[in-house]
């Protein structure tokens, strides 16, 4: 016969660990208190994480018409999509995944470009912008990948958050601005992607802007004169 595992609830005091000593107190309140305290801490932690993930960055007003001085190639026959990305933003990997889905569905109707912004503070760091995200972007079919040294184009389009997507129609009018992830770095179905696909396929969308989740690009709009090295 297999012996029954011991239950030391009734073991004499003065033996065992501190947990045993406290847990033997009358009333059996130790475990409920532990569970409540643990629940509070877990809830607080999850709340912080959720809040962080769902806190969007500032969304500035982008030019309604395609800027004539922009160096980005635009097609008069197709829609033009521009993505502004921070080369090292981990959240933008999800944005590239969503963009890949868009290009898979609508590559023939859109001319897409991805601009990796190189902050002015990193101007003297050659190749700083050629990150894993750059390589991932180059893997997306029909997506043109450019560097944006000093964030010139980003400033032109009022982009301050990595992951901002602008969609101009063939006439050069701004039809959509915002992010294409549901939260920070979160892949999956989202309103931005579905709206862009809707615009490209049907010419109209439910919304014209969504929230943008990502790292700050460090453009002139929010220039930081810090070193580009990690602390």
């Amino acid at each position: 016969m297999t012996p029954r595992p011991s239950d030391d609830r009734d073991a004499p005091a003065g033996q065992g660990t501190a947990f045993d000593h406290v847990a033997r107190r009358p009333g059996g309140w130790t475990i409920p208190v532990l569970v409540i305290a643990w629940s509070v801490m877990v809830a607080a932690g999850l709340g912080i994480v959720w809040r962080y993930e769902h806190t969007a960055g500032p969304l500035h007003v982008a030019p309604d018409r395609w800027p004539s001085d922009s160096q980005i190639e635009r097609s008069p026959e197709r829609w033009t999509l521009v993505l502004f990305a921070h080369p090292k933003c981990p959240c933008t990997r999800a944005t590239l995944g969503e963009l890949a889905r868009i290009m898979t569905q609508c590559a023939d109707r859109v001319q897409a470009s991805a601009l990796f912004v190189k902050p002015p503070a990193c101007a003297l760091e050659p190749g700083w912008e050629y990150s894993q995200l750059w390589q991932a972007a180059e893997q997306i079919p029909d997506l043109s990948v450019y560097a944006d040294p000093g964030g010139v184009e980003a400033n032109r389009f009022a982009a301050v958050i990595s992951g901002l997507v602008l969609l101009y129609d063939p006439a050069g009018r701004l039809r959509f601005r915002g992010g294409i992830t549901a939260s920070r770095g979160h892949s999956g179905d989202n309103l931005g992607r579905s709206t862009i696909v809707q615009l490209l396929n049907q010419g109209s969308g439910d919304v014209d802007s969504t929230k943008v989740y990502g790292c700050e690009l460090g453009t002139n709009l929010q220039e930081t004169h810090q070193s580009c090295h990690q602390p």
Binding site: M1, T2, R4, P5, D7, T17, F19, D20, A23, I31, L34, V35, W38, M41, V42, G45, L46, I48, V49, W50, Y52, E53, H54, H86, K88, C89, P90, C91, R93, A94, P119, A121, C122, S162, A182, S183, G185, H186, S187, G188, D189, N190, L191, S194, C215, E216, L217, G218, T219, Q222, E223, T224, Q226, S227, C228, Q230, P231
Partner: protein, 497 residues
């Protein structure tokens, strides 16, 4: 026994089955608690590694700092892991432990999904965890886990519906869809758990009955062992008593033999004097006595002679049983020759016809075996009717001994006397019919016994007698030799009288 095993369990068996089932469930709970404790530590470490790899730092232009995901993996993951591991360590098997583990496992799934950027592959962690939680074989644990999943989805779907469902509208329907897949798995797991519990219950019932049967068998074995032990003790006690009685009997026999020897030996001298002086007296007063006195004196002389014969026979019997005995190869052919030579005169007088086989060599005492044949042939010559005796001296071989025989065509006897004639001084006839002391066959029996053999007679009245005896082929088990004088080879008068 099989009927006992297959019997319907009684109340005691059912109680024991419940006890066994609870013990097994407790063991499963404890074991699974500890497995989950190890798994959660691994998941915690894996979450930290995933955060460090996927999103180590967050950037603001050219500056960066540690990503919130890294801190969440370390701190929040640590908090989520701490309590279930603590309970699994300190309170394994308790209900609260496995429910806390279920909650923590689902929270770990949520955290890992966050850390991996909501990858669809990471969502499989939820379904895998549910299957793992089914190891508890407690459907309530699955309910707790499912409630946590539903609460997480419901709360976040309410606060940030796009984050969870990817759309702003239709969140309730997506919640039902997501929860439906979890419930789908739960249903199958719960059915499996119920079947498993039913199997465990049956096994516990069988084990309880088996234990009960074993206990009965052990009790029966114990009882029978006790009986056997008592029986063995009784047998040993009886054996000891028998040995004691045999020893006492041997002592008495020895004393009797000693007495017989001493008595017969010491009586020889007075008997001899009695015979001698009665003869002298007869010579001295020869003719001086009247006829009655002479007849009385003759009675005295005859009685003295017979007494001398009896004393000599008794002494001979005693010597055969006590004398030193040789253990050497003896050619029975020579023994028979010697016996017939000593009886040659008698054989001629009776005109007996003797036939004989070829005899082997045995281990024994030549003198004693010669006298054995002499006694048996003499007996055959004596107990004859009017016809000339025909004597056949034979030998046959059995498995491990020789069977030797002396057959005659004499008067024979009834079979019921076959044992009696080997006892000392037992006679079947009056002294007037056949002379003798009645001690000869007793000497034969003693001789054969000392050669580890047996002697017996096959006879019918008027059909002759066939005396047979056996001698071992191998070296015989000879009785210990007595430190007394050797046998005197005085002729002994034989009789079956």
């Amino acid at each position: 026994m099989s009927s006992t095993v297959a019997a319907t369990p009684d109340a005691g068996d059912r109680r024991r089955a419940d006890e066994i089932l609870r013990e097994q469930q407790q063991l499963i709970h404890v074991r699974t608690d500890r497995l989950f404790a190890a798994l959660m530590v691994i998941q915690w470490v894996a979450g930290i590694m995933a955060a460090l790899w996927i999103s180590p730092r967050t950037w603001s232009g050219a500056i960066s700092e540690t990503h919130v995901h890294v801190w969440a993996a370390i701190l929040l993951g640590g908090v989520i892991t701490a309590l279930p591991v603590l309970l699994a360590w300190k309170r394994p098997g308790r209900v609260v432990t496995r429910h806390i583990i279920a909650i923590s496992q689902m929270l770990t799934s949520a955290l890992l999904i966050h850390l991996t950027g909501g990858r669809i592959e990471t969502h499989f962690h939820i379904f895998g965890s549910l299957a793992f939680l089914a190891c508890y074989r407690d459907w309530r644990v699955l309910c707790t886990a499912t409630v946590v999943v539903a609460a997480d989805h419901g709360l976040r779907g309410w606060l940030w519906p796009e984050s969870v469902y990817g759309v702003i509208g239709g969140a309730p329907l997506r919640l039902i869809e997501h929860a439906g897949w979890v419930v789908f798995e739960d249903i199958f797991l719960i059915v499996t758990i119920r079947q498993s519990l039913a199997d465990m219950s049956r096994n516990a019932c069988n084990q309880a009955q088996l234990e009960s049967t074993n206990q009965r068998i052990e009790a029966e074995v114990h009882r029978r062992t006790e009986e056997l032990r008592e029986s063995v003790e009784e047998t040993a006690r009886a054996s000891r008593q028998l040995v004691h009685a045999n020893k006492a009997l041997e002592e008495q026999n020895k004393e009797l033999d000693q007495f017989t020897y001493i008595a017969s030996h010491d009586l020889q001298e007075p008997v001899r004097k009695l015979v001698s002086f009665s003869r002298l007296l007869e010579q001295d007063i020869d003719g001086d006595l009247n006829e009655d006195a002479q007849r009385d004196l003759q009675f005295i002389v005859d009685a003295a002679k017979r007494m001398r014969s009896l004393v000599q026979a008794l002494l001979e019997l005693s010597r055969v049983g006590r004398s030193a005995m040789k253990h050497e190869p003896v050619d029975l052919e020579q023994c028979v020759d010697d016996a017939l030579d000593s009886l040659e005169l008698r054989i001629k007088e009776t005109g007996a016809v003797i036939t004989r086989d070829e005899f082997p060599t045995v281990i024994g005492d030549r003198t004693m075996l010669t006298q054995l044949y002499q006694n048996l042939v003499s007996n055959a010559l004596k107990f004859t009717d009017e016809v000339s005796p025909t004597i056949q001296i034979s030998v046959t071989q059995n498995d491990d001994h020789w069977v030797l025989g002396v057959r005659d065509n004499g008067i024979g006897m009834k079979p019921e006397y076959a044992e009696r004639i080997f006892q000392p001084f037992q006679r079947l006839h009056n002294r007037g019919e056949y002379e003798g002391t009645g001690i000869g066959l007793s000497i034969c029996k003693k001789t054969v016994q000392r050669h580890a053999g047996e002697i017996w007679v096959e006879s019918e009245p008027c059909q002759g007698a066939h005396f047979r005896f056996s001698l071992p082929i191998a070296e015989p088990q000879i009785e210990p030799t007595a430190p007394t004088e050797s046998i005197e080879t005085e002729p002994v008068e034989l009789a079956i009288c």
